[in-house]
Symmetry: C2
Subunit: 223 residues, 2 copies
Amino acid sequence: MLQKVLIAEDYESSNISVQKALEDLGISHDIKNQVYYCDDALARIKKAMSEGNPYDLLITDLSFDDDHTKQIITTGNALIKAAKDVQPDLKILVFSVENRLSVAQHLFKECDIDAYVPKGRRDSQDLKLAIETISKGGRYLSGNLKKEEKAEIDYDFSVVELAIISQLAQGTSQKDIPHYLQANSITPFGLSSVEKKLGSMKAIFGFTKNEQLIAYCKDKNII
Amino acid sequence: MLQKVLIAEDYESSNISVQKALEDLGISHDIKNQVYYCDDALARIKKAMSEGNPYDLLITDLSFDDDHTKQIITTGNALIKAAKDVQPDLKILVFSVENRLSVAQHLFKECDIDAYVPKGRRDSQDLKLAIETISKGGRYLSGNLKKEEKAEIDYDFSVVELAIISQLAQGTSQKDIPHYLQANSITPFGLSSVEKKLGSMKAIFGFTKNEQLIAYCKDKNII
DNA sequence: CCTGTTTTTACGGGAAACCGTAAGCCTCGA
DNA sequence: TCGAGGCTTACGGTTTCCCGTAAAAACAGG
């Protein structure tokens, strides 16, 4: 059974509806168990642990808006990893606008989360179902996730590649990118290497133009 | 005073927290007065009008997710315009993730909306304040909007320009774009015109490369 | 230390994009 | 009808990018 639940969600409106979902399920929920920042969430988890009264479940968003208040942990992903470090048995439910199946699957695999629910048309019902499933010891992957049609290639861009792409997107001409890379001690920095990297990235995705690559990276929030 | 309020918001969780905000303000809210699609919203507004019991306020999102159910109106913007057509005195409150000041200002000017509240860290409080202000006959522009630093250029891209940009982003080589434009009867379609349009767009924004233009348009959700 | 392999860089020919100029075309008003 | 001005297109030279090849450098194993 779930008794102690922590909500990490920056948007007050989302936060409130998560609380309401918990209420609807008859799970008591103290106002102190909801936070708007990742750092606060981790602090709560640590404190609860040290007091011998740890949380059963963490419901967290993935993206948190930047703010005037400087934070150490800025993404749900990092929060999950940090939380699992201090309390490996903590159950995790991710509640995010991100609705790509591949992203959710990645979280199950890499971070050993217990449920994934995307925000959307029926998200509150979805959320309740997920919480109930977890409380029964199960795992829950929402059916509302968008399965990418053409078998998404999940390619990990290297540091150089990301640097090249973002320089391009900022208008740096290709022949000037070596200077930039060298100035930031990123290797390899030769013009040939830049050209080759661009060529190989485009080949991987079946693109023909740099513009396509930029569009892709923007769509996937890679840059 | 506000008595009859319609909520048009596709995400159930957001919808719920808007309802809760209304409750907190002591505004009675029938479950029938919340919809998940723009078309439903317009139908409700029309029906209420014809029954001589029109709505006082429409609280709407701007973006609505696509779905298996085909809709005529698919954006909050179009809904607002359509609603104003059937009931010009209807008050409008926009509640959206979009947090650019320029977008909000544009809505006040073009669509004569009464309040703009971006989703964010304190959005429920913000929302309540907005509703109260409207009920007193005022207008409300949230202070949580991001004022674009370097005086955003708000440039209206023409049909040709958008076509060129999206073709580029899809990998069409520049010299093949004329074929595409002609096939879709978009003018002008000469290669020179394509080059000139690209040149002028880049000049306007101070860009040097097409990649920058693509990145910009992706960021602004133009393509 | 030597050798084979991989990675990085250099070079050069060809293609695409860029940009200025000029010619063609349409529109509008005298 | 004619001519001026704006818009569109055609053309050519220059720059940038693309891509294959090969030299140079870094690396690993013996």
